[in-house]
Symmetry: D2
Subunit: 149 residues, 4 copies
């Protein structure tokens, strides 16, 4: 049995169709494959927080989407995968520019995937946030529960 | 010196003015005081995810807002406080109903505040998610950095 | 099929037999049942850190053991369960006295258990640390991997 | 004012003197400098867990020590720094061999340091665990609190 690996265009379409917050925030998939993903969040005035920086929840939303992209880029059949946990460390105030998420699979197991994401302000070398998280993968032949399996 | 403690109406006004994602998601502050906060996220069809549940990032956004409320409910001068880190465990698929965040201060230090949040689907006894996180508080007499202090 | 629920004495014996660090640290199970566990770490001079407080890793070891106790107290067959992730927030410097871990199951799923632990210095009302974590449970009829399943 | 940067030998001596669990576990500093640290935990039969792998708390202890090394390697005056939080994801069952911690500073602020650690079984390319954490740094001219500042 070969495993379907979701590509860039297919995941972009999934955002538009199934991820309302990603759609609202205008996420654009820039790369997907080989256990990695790059997703861009365009700068928007509405996301600014007191202090002129970008709202933390927008960064968390971006990171969660990038984790999901990495999972589907390796297990395209796992559309029903759900976030099991996520930890974010905010490192620096993002500039009021686009934010780029670079995600990589740390470990793809049979039932769990652990992913690392680093967020950058466009054009900056130092990251603005670091995220690790776990996705619970749907099993073969049983229905997903949408929560902790 | 007495410390200003932000109340329910004042924090609701702050959401409308300064927290674009909280405003978009329609957050309603239901209680604020004594180191606790309760915030409601009304059910919305747009937030539904594949599987008929509520998007994880909406839950994270709600939790972050509830943490911020608890901080300002005890340190009303700390509007420039920023999230330093946040960990969320998703426990059960939320029902397609309102989600209620119940937040409590675990430790208010001089420079850091650690807060716990539990999320419930309205009318359910078992939580849908558990969150802990840290806010970095602006110091007295120095300007906030908007990032890790 | 009835599920074996491990009791206090049985888990204490497991510490002595299988958990070398818990044995070295002298953990004593004080309660186990109903999705809860209480474990005591006796004060020891060797655990003191610069500043006269207790070493953070000893607290993490205690928390991890208490999570495991809660799991086995509900699923006594799951001896091969392994920690999938753990997040600890240190809240206050522990006094140089015994530390008490109070653990509770947040969600027992078929494949994952999420547990919360609060640590107290004996005789103190305010917690010294807060922990959440996930245990991966061995499945029925397949061999445990000892890592992310 | 120049900042003292602690070197390998000085940090090894600190382990022997001040970190009882690190001493018990036989930690050996292999590199320290430029915002990075490498620490080795020798394989020991006593650390084995059911299933023939290494106890998770030993891995957490190693990670915490490596974070502390990175901090002191950049701020040698910050001996009173304390762990504020730590998140670990266990990725693969460690082999019964030495474990190597590779730690790097993600962000050194004035009051907080955020550090990433990756743990490897000796001779293996894939990591066994991933850790992020925050150290709270003592301020200049005020006494450390030993807890959340």
């Amino acid at each position: 049995m070969t495993t379907h690996r979701m590509g860039l265009a297919e995941f972009q379409a999934l955002i538009e169709r199934d991820l309302p917050m990603g759609q609202w925030l205008g996420f654009r998939v820039e790369a997907l494959g080989d256990g990695k993903a790059v997703i861009r969040m365009p700068a928007r005035r509405e996301l600014m927080r007191p202090g002129g920086t970008i709202a933390g929840p927008a960064l968390m939303t971006l990171a969660d989407c990038a984790m999901y992209a990495v999972v589907l880029g390796m297990r395209g059949d796992a559309v029903m995968a759900v976030t099991s946990n996520l930890t974010i460390h905010f490192l620096r105030a993002p500039k009021p520019v686009d934010v780029i998420a670079e995600a990589a699979m740390l470990r793809l197991g049979r039932r769990l995937a652990v992913i690392e994401v680093v967020l950058f302000s466009e054009g900056e070398a130092e990251p603005v946030a670091h995220i690790t998280g776990t996705y619970a993968l749907p099993g073969t032949g049983h229905r997903p529960s949408g929560a902790v399996p």
